[in-house]
């Protein structure tokens, strides 16, 4: 496609042409209406003039008959102006007048638009409005008015219409081309960026002109989308790397156990122990896969028929109650504080699982030192429901807080404990699925993990409910 062809095909150009056509039609209609109205007004004026003359001349005729009428006409013919008179006899002889007998004699007594020739200037036709009177004795009187001026005026109007339409089209077309060209330039830049991105340069971003117009907004949104895609891709890459690394270890262990059992003596009890270990190992592998699948499901967004309205505070109380004996056994305490009626929309199951992960983490890593108090809270903050799990343990250094949400990420000091490194990833994925966020904060001392979810409209009063589980 040629550059011009491309320009003509742009939406901006097509739109300007369409507007141009519409506007031209509009302008044409307006000018035509003005022209018609002008003619109407002028014609009316002439009619009034002619009527006045007729009245005056009838008076003359009534007073002095044909002779006086002829005299009056004589005087008027000599006066300058656009009035036209012609008094002729039955045979067509002109008695008095300033026009030649028209080829076409108007019939009836209406004002008729026609043409006339001035006396002494035969062959040059002029437009006029004429009216015919029949006088006794078959005399004919033509009274009228020259309307050449009007024709000139209408001509001016017509040419004004033509010229303005011409300029309108010209300016419009160029304007359209200019706008289309500018749009096209920017779109071409975007297309080029998009091609570079498709070619694999994920760092490329669409240019933003700074005009704040819709193209800029589009570009901004695309850039945000690209950022998210890059993030997902990086996450995916990291996950596949990590899956390879992290699953290799237990799989190797599994294989070694089975092999050792096969090689060992045929002691039945030893075999059984080895098999039990193998099953245990595969169970934990299945657990890891289930967690990965659950994260994937949450990341993909849940199908809407699984999203239902439920009380987040009830889930918090359930999970806290579920873990309270575990905490107690570990010499820790679990304090629960929830407001009532914290309705959210989403998956109760997944939120439960996320919360289990957070409480489990707090018990495993946070309740190990001298202060083993863990607090689980749920409250409404503005238009959000915040679920907070906090401990008073060693916490996570600020530099690691972002990283720790990644899949399979396990901080140095936790490697010695059992775990897959998926707990926080799942919690974060669940938060995102609910259009919320997971924040990891300093509890000074300890760790504070906040699951912030958009709240549904408040239905129950925020009566605080404190209980010590």
């Amino acid at each position: 496609m040629t550059a011009l062809g491309k320009l003509f095909r742009t939406t901006a150009f097509k739109l300007s042409i369409a507007y141009l056509v519409l506007f031209s039609i509009g302008a044409g209609l307006v000018l035509a209406r003005v022209g018609a109205r002008v003619k109407e007004v002028l014609d009316e004026q002439i009619e009034q003039t002619v009527d006045a003359e007729i009245r005056a001349l009838s008076e003359q005729y009534a007073q002095g008959g044909l002779r006086q009428l002829a005299n009056a006409l004589e005087r008027r013919v000599r006066a300058p102006g656009g009035s036209l008179y012609l008094l002729s006899s039955h045979s067509g002889d002109v008695i008095v007048g300033n026009i030649e007998a028209p080829a076409f004699a108007p019939g009836g007594t209406e004002l008729v638009e026609t043409t006339y020739e001035r006396r002494g200037e035969p062959g040059i036709k002029h437009p006029a409005l004429l009216r015919l009177f029949l006088l006794p004795g078959s005399f004919r009187l033509l009274i009228g008015h020259d309307i050449e001026d009007h024709e000139v005026l209408r001509g001016i109007l017509r040419s004004a219409l033509g010229v303005s339409l011409f300029w309108l089209v010209l300016v419009g077309a160029f304007g359209g081309l200019f706008v289309a060209h500018r749009m096209l330039e920017r779109v071409d830049v975007m297309s080029a960026s998009a091609r570079r991105i498709m070619a694999g340069d994920m760092h490329e971003r669409l240019a933003i002109s700074g005009a704040g117009d819709e193209l800029d907004r589009l570009a901004e949104n695309f850039n945000a989308m690209l950022a998210r895609i890059s993030e997902l891709m990086a996450g995916l890459r990291e996950v596949s790397d990590n899956i390879a690394h992290d699953l290799k270890t237990p799989l190797t262990r599994l294989r070694n156990r089975a092999e050792a059992a096969l090689r060992a003596s045929s002691d039945d009890r030893e075999h059984r122990a080895a098999l039990a270990a193998v099953i245990e190992e595969s169970d934990s592998l299945i657990g890891v896969f289930n967690a990965l699948l659950m994260i994937a499901r949450a990341e993909a967004g849940y199908s809407s028929d699984h999203m239902a309205e439920f009380d987040a505070d009830a889930v918090v109380r359930d999970i806290a109650e579920m873990y309270e004996p575990v905490a107690e056994e570990q010499g820790a305490s679990l304090d629960v504080a929830t407001q009532d009626g914290l309705k959210v929309t989403g998956s109760r199951e997944l939120l439960g699982q996320a919360l289990v992960n957070l409480v489990d983490n707090a018990l495993k890593y946070g309740a190990t030192g001298g202060d083993r108090r863990i607090a689980v809270e749920a409250r409404r903050v503005g238009d959000r429901v915040e679920i907070v799990v906090s401990d008073r343990g060693p916490g996570i250094p600020a530099s690691d807080r972002e990283r720790v949400v990644g899949r399979f990420v396990r901080l140095e000091n936790s490697r010695s404990r059992p775990g897959s490194g998926l707990g926080l990833s799942l919690a974060a994925a669940v938060a995102r699925m609910h259009h919320g966020a997971l924040r990891i904060e300093d509890n000074a001392p300890g760790l504070r993990v906040v699951l912030s979810l958009p709240a549904m409209r408040m239905t129950a009063g925020p009566t605080a409910r404190m209980e010590r589980a």
Partner: protein, 227 residues
Amino acid sequence: MRILIIEDDSEASEYLVKAFREQGHVAEHAADGLAGYGRASEGDYDVLIVDRMLPKMDGLSLISGLREQGVETPALILSALGQVDDRVKGLRAGGDDYLPKPYAFSELMARVEALARRRVGPKGEETQYRVGDLELDRLSHKVTVGGQEVALQPREFRLLEYLMKHAGQVVTRTMLLENVWDYHFDPQTNVIDVHISRLRSKIDKGRENPLLHTIRGAGYMIRDGAR
């Protein structure tokens, strides 16, 4: 117990048939949805084990077809790994329980037994359970051991209630999480165990033959140890 396994994966079904037979049950196998549908509507089975993805007729249609026909044999749905485990859909189609693959055989066994028991058990729910000298009244929420009342937390009561309802049967940790707490995720580590040991300390304290047993690699069972 007569069990019909409707599963197209021949290795998995052979394994299941063998495992159930070892446990002393009669297990039969149908390799596709249509064959399974035919046998399930004719034969008298105690439990159906139905894979969700089957050739010729999928598991959910099979079950809803049977239900329309008035066949009320309890059905347990198996769903493949990777498939969104769509419990709600499965149960809506007329399934009675739902187990995502991969599963432990002990888990499947426990659930199949619970389903079969539900079928032969009395129609109306009992209001009182009794195992040895342990009694639970579901109406007054009272639990007594040898006539002595034991104070239980509401959740402990529901835990005991579920165990006693399935007295003599293995109850797995996931079954407890599903039925007592109403959550369907993997129970983390030892959460259920801790609740069980709390309950145990209340009902089995100082007993020579405890009622509440841990079945290794499977779950728990409540039964009269003296029997």
